[in-house]
């Protein structure tokens, strides 16, 4: 419904296809100047020191200015307003996707507010009821609000300001539709702000979207001012005011006895740690969420230098991207965006006594049904946890794509990974033993019985399951909404989480193909995009779309045409596997320098660090004799063989386990 209506604030101005049109334009030879200007801006933006106000002004100015240039450009001669509009949208999306890491939540104050909000919401959601906000009983149809919460929960899944904004609008729209239906059913007045805002606040609290404040700030700063108007602006303001309300909330803000409020709040706060932190203090987790998401580009650039060329290529093989050939910090199935990404990412440290590969696969292959059953049951819970956004809160890397990781995150990732492994191991083995014991006495039903062991291991399994949920987290929502709120957003962010990024991956490829001066370094810098494309394909296969194929193609052409050199470089790395640190470092460094001046500097240090990690990994793998999957020769694909080996090797066990979990979740999905 309302699919093509231009009055619609959701209208498809930057729908996938439109965005691709923009990219198409950029590929045109006469766009070279534009491309150069855009790249130039990106480079200088990345290089400047973060300053939210200045950054915002600079981006806004550049967007406005470039749009004006579009207007006068022969490429758009005779173009309709609509086409120009979508070009502008395309530009915004492209630009902000590129500089996201640098632009998102760069100031500590924002992160602090994020933390405060998250903590409050986590506490409030435990006892807040609609009537505390004077939401009439007739509106208390809580299950329906879940839909709205889910929309909001996607806020962190996008990079482009517009896409984030659409999440908010979708949420508001769902609320409004429900209010409207209730009002009509009750023959009451049409809902106005008196009805709407309280419900929105309630929904926001229940959703507790990650980095809420930073996300709102990001939209405010970087959504082109000319487009943050009218209805979008209004509902955006509502979201901002909901956040402000929560931030300054006190007992008198609610219809609740102050003493009761205080005691409930205390109680709730006391309960947060087990829920939210599970190892890491909520602050730490929250604090690092935005940066985690945001990551600095420089590291990403370096990182990508060695793999630079794999990225487009990965995009070229949507079908096989989860074969483990993904670049770097593992996207093998980061692809899936979930555990795989999370777990294998950090190289297992030699200090660990448990080999991750062994550990993960063993319990799952041996115990037979009971564990699987448990897992399946846990999976259902995981699905709902994912939907409520809880997983994203508890596991900050769960939805992180490789491109968003910073080198600085490795530490945290590694720590979390170790914790996870050990905990999982302990639980799985404990359960196994118990099962064995019980089985001897009782037979199979052992696994059915309750107890902390069980629930714990459910959550352990759940972590694997979340892989699936993570990957498809948006899927259900999209489907859910189809009949309801999202009609107008077809193919838009509502639909799937990776669309935007994937498209920008395309852009990388296309620009690179143009052979524009900067394009190449850029492409390599932006490993993220194609990775996301990969993840898109690998993880959320159902979301696969035509444009993707397009992406793939251009990426491929590009990589083939230009990578002879990298190819060699790559093989060299491969050969030098693991031991020749110097060499690797050197080649990486070379890569950086050759590829892109602006990032070269950061590249070197980065490269060496990576090399260390790598050799560490490789050494481990050797020791474990775990060289699975990745030992391809340096054929065309083999370029990323080292990476592949690395990720598969290290993560083999976990990946398998997650595969199983995947299956489990799938089953659950289908059942429900």
């Amino acid at each position: 419904m309302a699919s093509g209506d231009k009055q619609d604030p959701f209208s498809a101005a930057t729908a996938q296809l439109t965005f691709h049109n923009f990219l198409e334009k950029m590929r045109h030879p006469s766009a070279v100047d534009l491309v150069r200007a855009i790249k130039g801006f990106i480079v200088s933006f990345q290089a400047s020191a973060p300053d939210p106000d200045k950054d915002s002004a600079a981006v806004q100015q550049f967007l406005a200015q470039t749009e004006a240039t579009f207007r006068a450009h022969p490429l758009w001669a005779g173009a309709t307003e609509e086409e120009l509009e979508s070009a502008g949208e395309g530009l915004e999306k492209y630009l902000l996707t590129k500089v996201f890491a640098r632009a998102f939540g760069p100031i500590p104050a924002d992160a602090a507010t994020d933390r405060l909000l998250a903590e409050r919401m986590a506490a409030l959601q435990q006892f807040l009821r609609p009537e505390h906000l004077d939401i009439p009983a007739s509106f208390g149809n809580e299950p329906s609000w879940l839909l709205a919460q889910k929309e909001l929960g996607k806020l962190g899944a996008y990079k482009a300001p517009r896409d984030k904004l659409v999440c908010i609008l979708n949420c508001c729209r769902v609320i409004n539709n429900l209010l409207l239906n209730m009002a009509m059913a009750a023959q009451g007045d049409p809902p106005g702000a008196d009805d709407f805002l309280p419900v929105l606040i309630y929904v926001v609290i229940k959703a507790n979207p990650p980095a809420l404040h930073s996300n709102l700030q990001f939209i405010q700063r970087y959504r082109a001012a000319s487009r943050l108007v009218a209805e979008s602006a209004y509902f955006f303001t509502n979201a901002v005011s909901a956040a402000a309300f929560i931030e300054h909330l006190n007992p008198s803000s609610l219809s609740i006895d102050p003493a009761e409020f205080e005691s409930k709040m205390q109680q709730a706060l006391a309960q947060i740690p087990p829920n939210i932190s599970d190892g890491t203090p909520p602050q730490a987790r929250k604090a690092s969420t935005p940066p985690g998401k945001a990551g600095d580009l420089p590291p990403r650039h370096n990182r990508s230098h060695s793999e630079g060329d794999t990225s487009p290529r990965i995009a070229t093989q949507p079908g096989m991207s989860n074969s483990g050939s993904s670049p770097m910090l593992v996207t093998a199935d980061a692809a899936a965006g979930g555990l795989a990404a999370r777990a294998p990412a950090p190289p297992p440290s030699p200090g660990l006594t448990v080999s991750p590969a062994d550990s993960a696969s063993a319990p799952l292959t041996q115990p037979g049904d009971s564990l699987a059953q448990l897992e399946a049951r846990g999976a259902a819970a995981v699905v709902s946890a994912a939907e409520s956004g809880q997983l994203a809160r508890d596991y900050r890397f769960l939805y992180t794509s490789v491109g968003d990781l910073r080198v600085g995150d490795v530490d945290a990732l590694l720590t979390e990974y170790k914790e996870l492994v050990l905990k999982y191991e302990a639980l799985a083995r404990g359960l196994q033993e118990r099962n064995a014991g019980l089985a001897r006495q009782l037979g199979v039903t052992a696994a059915e019985s309750g107890g902390p062991g069980q629930s714990e291991s459910e959550s352990g399994a759940g972590k694997g399951d979340s892989l699936k949920t993570a990957a498809t987290g948006n899927g259900p929502a999209g489907g859910f909404n189809e009949g309801k709120a999202l009609e107008a957003v077809d193919g838009m962010p509502g639909g799937n989480g990776t669309g935007a990024d994937e498209s920008s991956g395309d852009k990388e490829a296309t620009l690179a193909q143009e052979g524009t001066g900067l394009a190449r370094g850029e492409v390599q810098g932006e490993a993220s995009a194609p990775q996301e494309a990969g993840s898109h394909a690998g993880g959320a296969g159902q979301a696969g779309s035509q444009p993707e194929a397009g992406v793939a193609k251009s990426g491929e052409e590009k990589s083939e045409s230009e990578t002879a050199e990298q190819h060699n470089h790559r093989s060299e790395v491969h050969r030098g596997q693991g031991h020749d640190m110097d060499r690797e470092e050197k080649s990486e460094a070379q890569g950086s320098r050759a590829d892109s001046e602006p990032f070269a500097e950061a590249g070197d240090g980065e490269a060496s660090r990576r090399a260390e990690i790598e050799s560490d990994r490789q050494a481990r793998r050797k020791a474990e004799g775990q060289e699975s999957g990745g030992g391809q020769p340096s054929d065309d694909m083999g370029e990323h063989a080292p990476e592949a080996a690395r990720s598969t090797g290290v993560s083999a066990g976990l990946v398998t386990s997650s595969d199983e979990s995947l299956a489990a979740v799938k089953g659950v999905d289908e059942q429900s």
Binding site: A2, N177, D189, A193
Partner: protein, 210 residues
């Protein structure tokens, strides 16, 4: 409350209005967009006033808009058009501190109260002060006594409000969202008072006839 009878049912204007609206997107003096914020206690019928004004455009079956708390309507004024973008605010006390987020940048405001409810007039005066202190410098404020159809329950005399409005440089009008009385006039008046809005027409207290 109290505007159930004004629940919009007609669709007829829709097409015309929307195409007008689209033209008004291009910002020039002849086709301006005006942000208008709606303030007032909950229950005074703020949103009803707007719904009355926007009537046909708001159609429950038309899911294009995100919701009824934001509505837009284009008004013809001589040769030019003005597109009102109307921002409703939550009137409950506990949200009062959020209002600045909404009226920031607004060039017009409707401060509504219920002529049968004295406390809503107090609240209206509070909003007026707020706007004077923190609103845009040239903001056009309309003080609106709603529910004029409930004359027998009137608790506030017209004169009182008029005097207050005058001393605060606003204009006052009594409306009934229920009967649609003075609704068009209200918006016409606002339009004519906007800086550069009307081409010289419109006196202070005289609503423009349609």
């Amino acid at each position: 409350m109290g505007c159930s009878t004004s629940k919009p049912v007609t669709q007829q204007q829709q097409g015309g209005l929307q195409s007008l609206g689209r033209e008004a997107e291009s910002l020039d003096l002849k086709n301006r967009r005006v942000k208008l914020v709606l303030l007032g206690d909950s229950g005074v019928g703020k949103s009803c006033i707007v719904l009355r004004f926007v009537k046909g455009q708001f159609d429950p079956n038309n899911k294009v808009t995100v919701g009824a708390s934001f509505l837009s309507q284009t008004l013809k004024l001589g040769e030019s058009t003005i597109k009102f973008e109307i921002w409703d605010t939550a009137g409950q006390e506990r949200y009062a501190s959020l209002a600045p987020l909404y009226y920031r940048g607004a060039s017009a405001a409707i401060v509504a109260y219920d002529i049968t409810a004295p406390e809503s007039f107090q609240k209206a005066q509070y909003w007026v002060k707020e706007l004077q202190k923190h609103g845009s410098p040239n903001i056009v404020i309309a003080l609106v006594g709603n529910k004029a159809d409930l004359a027998d329950k009137r608790a506030l005399q017209r004169e009182e409000a008029e005097t207050y409005a005058e001393s605060n440089g606003m204009f006052y009008i009594e409306t009934s969202a229920k009967t649609a009385d003075n609704i068009q006039e209200l918006f016409q008046s606002i339009a004519s008072k906007l800086p550069g809005g009307s081409s010289g027409s419109a006196g202070k207290q005289t609503p423009q006839p349609r």
